[in-house]
Structures are given as structure tokens and as C-alpha cells.
Symmetry: C2
Subunit: 405 residues, 2 copies
């Protein structure tokens, strides 16, 4: 079966590599069908590449080749990936992608285009890289009401936080090291400000609860305000700070979804997720907590998930996989600050007696070199709005949510 | 769509409960089809049960009801479950099961019967209870050569080992507590001798590598020889003892598969799996290590996996899911003692100098109250046969494999 790859960057070239190096298992798993690379779309020139005769700069070469049945979109970004994908799907070609930005923004439209073309749009690689999560979420948990999801969805920030926690490295130094190791881009904004995690939250929430959640609906806070002082206080409470994407079911008509640093207590499966690894914890009412762990990014892990989707498409030509993913609504994602109760970590310039006055009961934390006018504590459960009201007028240095996962 | 349940024990009654309590999500996920319980097969009487009008003691009532399209087999054991399942499948009814003993012994035959009947035989619940592993293994890793699998596959033994590790409880006391809590049966042999884990290893190996592996081919050792002394020595090396099922790819024609206690170093995702939880780690050549974690047993987790398989069958009537699972061979599973190199933990009545004489280099361990004539150490990598040769004539107290997962 002929296939095409659009975008020959890290993931796209990985897709070509995996298809070639795994031709035997691919044949076995499609039931005898080989994946044959017919075209590679990229605007750049790769004169030295062994596939140079496959390259094209003209999308029409793929769209108009009737033999091409499956296309891997590994371009990234919304444009022109969106336009290309819609046209391919409507023409009846299956498309698989690792492009989380596109799925988060346009997943519903693209699934509708796939329906029109009686073909499949699959995106296992868009969340958690090589970690299987889309299929388990849509198939294996089918007999559960999902109560919540919490995930370490971004490897770059988890690497930075791991260095801060384990090696007492400052945020700035850890970021530089991540860049040096190729884990963070020159402009690290999408990672450290939580935008990348936000996109993955949108995809998970849309699949888990069936209504499209858009990035603009997800309150998103990155890790740039986390200091070694916070890390140290939290450590004294037997916890670690992780960047979590969290989704909570409220009722049939509403969920909460947010990305933020969070205190995770040791003993949680999420606490032991170190370095660039990702993990996604799903809480179902029948199954309890299930956790998926692995490399959330990287050339071959992500490419292997893209190729697995291609294999699935090869097995399901003209048979559509149905995701229950319908229109979202403006008020579907509620303001978590108002609705969700949780404990909070607070670091402030306050006296202990003042803290006790404001909060009936807290757990005080300590750290080496703690200044006499600084306190850190963990509150009882309350909404963030209630917390902010209690703290109004106080000199607050940092606030971090405490998770119950 | 009408369905039947065979066996109204813990899992079977859980299946009925999940179907009834989750009718809304089930409808959503099948695309509008409800699962309607038509018959429940059990030899016992349940006069007080609200479903008493559904009960039958006659298998023919299910087999001969043309409206019944899907049957959950939650009877356990090989007979008569095997006979019933074959007849249902050949009659074109889909069967889903949590019966690991049956799948491990007869999986291939039953998949062939399903092929004959042009229907599906699904068994997600047979490994890891509610943890999704069968689908990820067969679909999401399709573009990987699987190099190995290691799993904590039995909750009872993991509970016992956790109590030994964390509370210094003896094996006997921990077993009694497990029985009191309902985690272990009166006759705990299948759990503590590793037979239950062995069955799951067979299913995982058969799916991962495509050839049926039978329980008799898997060298199986339980946890009854593990003492608090071993736990303590291993703890001094920053490790824990877990009962692991391990599968290793050797080449196209051979694998190794064995169940035994194993030293897992802290830092591994498997080390932090406590209590009755299970975890399965899959190592793929493209994706790296991926780990799945959750409740491996229990009424509702297991039942929710059975019902998820029923939903999948409801979506795939007359469309078969293909597992690449073919005939096994007698010499396909090699003797790991001869082929697989690994480090070993050894506890013995030997002097340190004698140990140094026999092994070029080892890491000595220590424990509180260590007798002066006892040593414990971790060897370099070697085969078990090589180890046994080196230790021949020595007074060995215990030997435990050290895993590289």
C-alpha cells in the first residue's frame, strides 16, 4: 500500500526510518500489506538523502496520486497542515498525525472531514509520544465513567523540574541544560509556559468526555515561577512539584481543565516520573487509577506511534473508527477557581500566627536557610477563589495547587 | 443487543453490575446499542438476586438463543469453559473473557474457533485486570520489535512482598493478612507459587511474539522462599524484591519466559508498584520502555475490562479482530538458565574471601543482625547455569535474579 509523509523534520524522518527498519513486523501486523513510501513533502532540499527521488514540494503530488491511501502529517502547526489534511480526508485518504496543535485546535473539524471521506483520522502520537493513551482511553475504559485525568504531558518541563528537585539546579540553569541536550527549543515558550501541555489536555478531555475543548478554554500556567525554595519546602512535605495537566468531570454539562505546577506526594505514580518521561493517570469509576508511563517525545518513540496508526489504517481501509467527539460549548469548561476544591501550597511573608488567624488549620513546611519572615504551608481543601480572598492584602510569594492524584 | 454472562462469581456479578450502572456510557460508546442481559448461567441458586428471572443452569439456553450475540465467560478454569466457548464461537457468537487459565492453555484453539465462526474472542481482562495491555500490545506497539516484557502480574504476592518490605512482616503473617483482606484464597497456591503470573506471561508472550506459549514451557518459581533477611539485604542495595514475569526476545525462533522473584532497583517504575497493584513494562526497540499500571484484579476493575471488550464486540459484529497468534513449538521457549545472562543476588554461608575467590568481582550487601558466617552479594552478569557451577559445593541459602528493568 502506498503512503506519503508530509514534513521531513524529526518525527517525519523518524516515520520513514521506522517504516524501513520494521518492514517485517509491519507486514505481519497489517496482515501482509507493506507500507511503501511514495512521496515525501517538504519545502527544504535534501540532496544527500537516500530518499531524494521521493521528495516533492507540491502537495498536489500526494493529493492527486490515487495509489496513496495513507498520509502521515508530521509538519506541525495549524497552517497549512489543516488545509492539507482536510483535502486529503475528503478525498478518502486516511491521515495520521503527531501534530497536537492541529488536533487540539481542529480535531472535531478533521474528524468530520474524515467522516465525509469515509476514512480515518488517527492521532495516537499527538499525546504522550509513544505512550499508548488514545486507544486505551477510547476503547479500554469504554465501560467506565471517567472521573478525572492528570498527566505529566511535557518532557522538557519535567526534565527541568527533575534537575531542580534532584540536583538543586536553578530554573535558568536547568533550562539551559535542556536546550543543550536538545530537549528544549531555542524559544522554549511553548514548553515552559505550559502551552504544549495545554494542547494535550484539550485532546484528552475531548476524547474522554466527547466534547471538543479548545486551548483557549484551559487555564494554563507554566513553571517559570517555581523556585528552588518552593522545591525545598515541598520536599519537606514528602512531595515534588510537577507540571500537571488536570481534567475533572463535574457533571454531564461541565468539566474543569487546567495546566499548572502541582504538588504531588511521593507514593503517587506521578511522583516517580523523572527526567523527560511522561505519564498519564486516568481515574475511572470502575477501574480505579490506571497510569501510563513512557517517553512522551523523541524521534523514534513518536514515529513508532505514527506508524502504528498507519498500520491500523491499512487494516481498516473503508472502515471508520468512531470517536465520540462532538461540538464543544463555551460554558462547558467551567472556571476551576470557582468550582474545584483542593489544598494549596502557599509561600508568603507572613507570621505563623497571622497564618493561623487567616486559615483555621494548615501544615507548616520548613527548609534549610528559611528566613525568619517567610512561611510556607499547605492549606485545607478550598477553591482558589476562597484562597485568594483569604490571602488578599498578604505578601504572597507563590501558590501551587496540591493534587489528589 | 442481547448478551449472556456465564459464571456469576465475583467477576460475573461485576459484569452485570457494570452493564447496569453504565448503560448511558455504553450506549454512547457502542454508537447507540444497549447491552441487554438475556441469560446468566450458573449452577448455584440466587433466589434473592434481582436478576433471578435471567438465571439458567442450561448452557443450551444461551447457545440456542439466536438473539444472543455476545457472551461473557467469567467461569474460570478450563472445563467446561473451553467446551462452552468453542461451541459459542463456532455458532458465531462473540465471547469475551477474564479467564486467564483458559486463554493461556487454549488461546490459539479458541482464536481459531472464532475464525471459523467469523466472530471475535477477546480477553483484555485476562491480564492485568482493568489495566489496558492486550490492545496496546497488539495495536500501539505494532511498529516496534518488542525486546522484552516484565510485569508484576499478581496482586496477592505483591501485597505480601509489600508488607514484608515496608512493615518487616514475615511471609506467613503477610499471607494470613492477605487472606483476611480477601486478596488471597484459602488455598493460595496459584498465587504464591507463581502459577497465576505464569498464565499471564503465556498470554503476553503469545501476543507479543505471535506463537503460543504454554504454561508448561515457562519456568515458574513463587515467593515462598523469600525471607525478611533477603528483603533486608536487597534494601541495603537500594532495591526491592518483586515477583516478576519476564519475557525476552532472543531471535525469530526463540524467546525466554520465566516467573520468579527478582531484585528491582529503586528508580525503576516497577519498584514503586506497591500493595495489590500490578504493572507491566514493555520494552520496544523504537518506543523504549512503556509501563502500564493499575489494579490487576478486583470485581469492578476486571468487570469493566470485560464490558469494554463487549462494547468492542458490539461495534465489530461480523468484523474480526486479528491477533497474530499462531502455533507454538516445543523448542521455541529456550531454557533461560542456559541462555540469559543477568546479575544474581546470592545469600550463603561463605566467607568473603571465599566469595572473592569464586567470583572475580561482587557487590557485598549487609543487614542489621547479620551473622558472621553469612554473606550476601550481587554478582556480575552470567547465566544461571554458570552461577550454579560456581556455587556448587557451597552452602547457598537463597538466589534471586536481578532484573534490568
Amino acid at each position: 500500500m502506498k503512503i506519503a509523509v508530509m514534513g521531513y523534520g524529526t518525527v517525519g524522518s523518524g516515520v520513514v526510518e521506522v517504516i524501513e527498519s520494521h518492514s517485517r513486523v509491519i507486514m505481519e501486523r497489517t496482515g501482509g500489506e507493506a507500507l511503501e513510501i511514495a512521496h515525501i513533502l517538504d519545502l527544504r532540499d535534501f540532496p544527500e538523502d537516500p530518499h531524494r527521488d521521493k521528495f516533492t514540494k507540491d502537495f498536489g503530488d500526494i493529493l492527486n496520486d490515487p495509489e496513496v491511501k495513507i498520509v502521515a502529517e508530521t509538519m506541525g502547526g495549524v497552517n497549512p497542515a489543516y488545509d492539507f489534511t482536510v483535502r486529503l480526508l475528503k478525498a478518502g485518504k486516511a491521515v495520521v498525525t503527531s501534530n497536537k496543535e492541529l488536533v487540539a485546535q481542529k480535531g472535531l473539524d478533521l474528524l468530520k472531514a474524515a467522516e465525509e471521506g469515509n476514512t480515518n483520522y488517527l492521532f495516537e502520537a499527538s499525546v504522550g509520544g509513544g505512550i499508548p493513551i488514545i486507544r486505551p482511553l477510547t476503547q479500554c475504559f469504554a465501560a467506565n465513567n471517567i472521573e478525572g485525568i492528570a498527566g505529566i504531558l511535557n518532557g522538557t518541563t519535567n526534565f527541568i523540574l527533575t534537575k531542580m528537585i534532584e540536583e538543586d539546579m536553578s530554573f535558568g540553569d536547568a533550562l539551559k541544560l535542556a536546550q543543550k541536550n536538545g530537549y528544549a527549543e531555542k524559544d522554549p515558550t511553548a514548553d515552559i509556559e505550559g502551552h504544549d501541555a495545554c494542547r494535550k489536555v484539550c485532546i484528552l478531555a475531548s476524547l474522554a468526555f466527547g466534547k471538543h475543548v479548545y486551548p483557549s478554554q484551559v487555564a494554563t500556567q507554566g513553571i517559570t515561577d517555581i523556585t528552588l525554595e518552593d522545591v525545598s519546602y515541598v520536599s519537606s512535605a514528602n512531595g515534588v512539584i510537577k507540571l500537571l495537566g488536570q481534567i475533572k468531570y463535574i457533571d454531564e454539562d461541565s468539566i474543569a481543565a487546567f495546566v499548572s505546577p502541582a504538588v504531588v506526594y511521593n507514593g503517587s505514580q506521578l511522583a516517580s516520573v523523572r527526567d523527560v518521561f511522561n505519564a498519564i493517570l486516568v481515574r475511572g469509576d470502575a477501574v480505579g487509577d490506571v497510569c501510563f508511563y513512557g517517553r512522551g517525545a523523541g524521534k523514534l518513540p513518536t514515529a513508532s506511534a505514527v506508524v502504528a496508526d498507519m498500520i491500523d489504517c491499512a487494516k481498516h481501509v473503508n472502515r471508520r473508527k468512531i470517536f465520540g467527539w462532538s461540538n464543544g460549548e463555551e460554558d462547558y469548561v467551567v472556571d476551576y477557581r470557582e468550582k474545584i476544591e483542593m489544598p494549596f501550597y502557599v509561600r508568603a511573608k507572613m507570621s505563623e500566627s497571622r497564618v493561623k488567624n487567616v486559615f483555621s488549620e494548615v501544615k507548616f513546611l520548613s527548609r534549610k536557610g528559611q528566613p525568619s519572615d517567610e512561611v510556607a504551608f499547605i492549606t485545607d481543601k478550598m477553591t482558589e477563589n476562597e484562597l485568594m480572598e483569604k490571602l488578599s492584602g498578604e505578601k504572597v510569594l507563590n501558590i501551587i495547587k496540591v493534587t489528589n492524584y
